[in-house]
């Protein structure tokens, strides 16, 4: 791993050294290093690129880190990672992808993640996307994550999806199916700048009684960037669903928010909220009265909003 790759890993996984627990570092389409533990096994897939992560039932307070780095211009890959999360386990999974592109060809990572969450298991999943490169590089940094979550009875999944900087184009699609008593929470934070394009689509099927989903997206669009957020909540049982999309629009950006809620059960309670607006002038004024310049005030407001 060279210095740039190390820096990217720090950015996407907050890792400064080899993590505790299980890990798999994928760098430029090859496994850089890997460790399985007594309870968490990481296996290379035989039929296609990617890995299987198998977490034994009852595994508590363990973590898996699976960062991906691309630092070669022109590299394009599709990777399939499947997570089998055993009954009664409680784990943290940190994924994330960073692309460093200093050439003139596009670099692209399309990750397909599937989670099979067995009864009573709890998962916290963190996924960060980051891109950088040299100023004169014309190659795009592209990431298209597809995430599928299959939640059995009384499971809990908390997903934190973050893309703050440097990804030119992304199409994120997330599907979740919830059985009785399953609880899904999604916090998405997104910032686009320059002429970046980001699209995110969530489909949540609330199939079991007592299931609940809370999908919250906060985003900031600057420059001439474009964002599209689609959330579809389908209440098919006695369930509770809430989706919220809150965006700050700046400069010459364009944002679309398309919430959709569908109920097929009289006991489904579904709510959606969507709001797009610029930074309120009085917020800027308030911070200026505390001594910040207009620019500093805007940065603080945006940083706070995306925190």
């Amino acid at each position: 791993m060279d210095i740039i790759e190390k820096r990217i890993i720090e950015e996407i996984a907050d890792l400064h050294e080899v993590p505790e627990g299980a890990y798999n570092f994928r760098i430029n389409s090859a496994t850089d290093s890997r460790r399985s533990t007594a309870n968490i096994e990481i296996r290379t897939k035989e039929d296609k690129p990617g890995i299987d992560i198998i977490i034994k039932p009852g595994t508590k307070h363990e973590s898996v880190h699976i960062p991906v780095v691309i630092s070669e211009t022109g590299l394009k890959e599709v990777v399939y990672n499947d997570f089998y999360i055993g009954e009664d386990s409680d784990v943290v999974i940190v994924a994330g992808c960073g692309i460093y592109n200093c050439g003139n060809q596009d670099a692209q990572h399309d990750g397909v993640h599937r989670f099979f969450v067995e009864k009573n298991a709890r998962v916290k999943y963190v996924e960060k996307h980051y891109g950088s490169g040299t100023e004169d590089a014309t190659g795009k940094r592209i990431m298209n994550p597809r995430t599928e979550v299959y939640m059995k009875e009384d499971t809990s999944m908390e997903m934190e999806m973050v893309q703050i900087k440097g990804v030119d184009s992304t199409f994120r699609s997330t599907l979740a199916e919830l059985s009785a008593g399953a609880e899904l929470t999604v916090h998405e934070r997104l910032m686009t700048h320059e002429d970046q394009d980001a699209e995110s689509e969530y489909t949540v099927e609330l199939n079991g009684d007592g299931s609940s989903a809370n999908v919250v997206s906060r985003s900031v669009a600057r420059g001439t960037s474009h964002q599209k957020f689609i959330s579809k909540l389908h209440g098919n049982a006695k369930c509770a669903g809430h989706s919220e999309c809150d965006s700050i629009i700046m400069d010459g950006a364009r944002i679309e928010a398309i919430p959709e809620i569908t109920a097929t059960s009289t006991d489904a309670a579904l709510i959606h909220e969507a709001a797009i607006g610029k930074i309120a002038g009085e917020q800027i004024t308030k911070l200026m009265t505390l001594g910040l310049t207009e620019q500093e005030a805007k940065e603080q407001i945006v940083n706070g909003f995306l925190k």
Binding site: A280, K286, M288, T289, G291, G304
Partner: protein, 242 residues
């Protein structure tokens, strides 16, 4: 010393020129507690906003120690030592109370230090320091946090625009204590826009503004007796009832 000289602000509304501030000249001597009072719509808040730089006068000057600061921005005036507490504090999604206090203090305060300012305005710091400054806070809570940010700045001039507006009676009792304490401990000029008799009672001097003009000014003991029973100085209970 902060001074305003022949300050005027006119706006055009419905094809009519309206003078909100008419040729006001006032001095705010250092280390004084000055209350500005007068009927609603008389121009008090506008004057405060002109001092903070949030609004720009159409004529006249604002001077700080003789330096003309009329053309300076809000930020520049803040850096020269002018603080302003909004009548209706602003909410921020995502920013936490500790963030705002740190920005106000202009340095990376420890949590303990940030808590001091919250305690000073009667908020249990532990319950508030991590709270987001969003719609979950009540008007009274926001107001106190607003005052805490001004305390954290600790500047030579602090302007409070109707600190009593929008808070309940219980909070109001505490608020008086906050200002009394500030009066004793903080060095600097406090300019406070208020209708409240109990705030006027602790001022060194009182300025009455009505119809965009200064209609009276002088030491508290000379002005207050004339105001009692008028709209400018209502008892807290009367205001709540009216």
């Amino acid at each position: 010393m902060l001074s305003v000289r022949n300050l005027s602000l006119g706006v055009r509304e419905n094809e009519e020129d309206i003078e909100i501030i008419k040729n006001i000249t006032l001095d705010f001597p250092d280390d004084r507690f000055i209350a500005i009072t007068g009927p609603n719509g008389g121009g008090k808040s506008t004057l405060a906003r002109l001092i903070a730089g949030i609004r720009t006068p159409s004529a006249g000057q604002i001077l700080l120690d003789g330096q003309d600061i009329t053309a300076l921005s809000v930020t520049e005036r803040a850096k020269l030592g002018i603080s302003f507490a909004f009548q209706q504090p602003v909410r921020f999604k995502g920013l936490q109370v500790k963030d705002l206090i740190r920005i106000a203090a202009g340095k990376d305060l420890s949590i303990v230090d940030a808590c001091e300012y919250l305690s000073a305005v009667g908020l249990c710091a532990r319950d508030y320091i991590d709270r987001e400054i969003n719609a979950s806070l009540s008007g009274g809570e926001l107001k106190r946090i607003e005052i805490a940010t001004v305390l954290a700045r600790g500047t030579r001039i602090s302007v409070f625009d109707e600190p009593e507006a929008g808070i309940d009676l219980w909070s109001f009792q505490n608020l008086i204590q906050v200002f009394k304490k500030m009066r004793e401990t903080v060095k600097g000029t406090i300019i406070i826009i208020s209708h409240q008799e109990r705030i006027l009672e602790i001022a060194d001097s009182i300025v009455v503004i009505s119809g965009g003009e200064v209609t009276d000014e002088g030491p508290r003991d000379a002005i207050l007796p004339k105001l009692l029973g008028t709209d400018a100085a209502l008892q807290a209970c009367d205001r709540v009832l009216s």
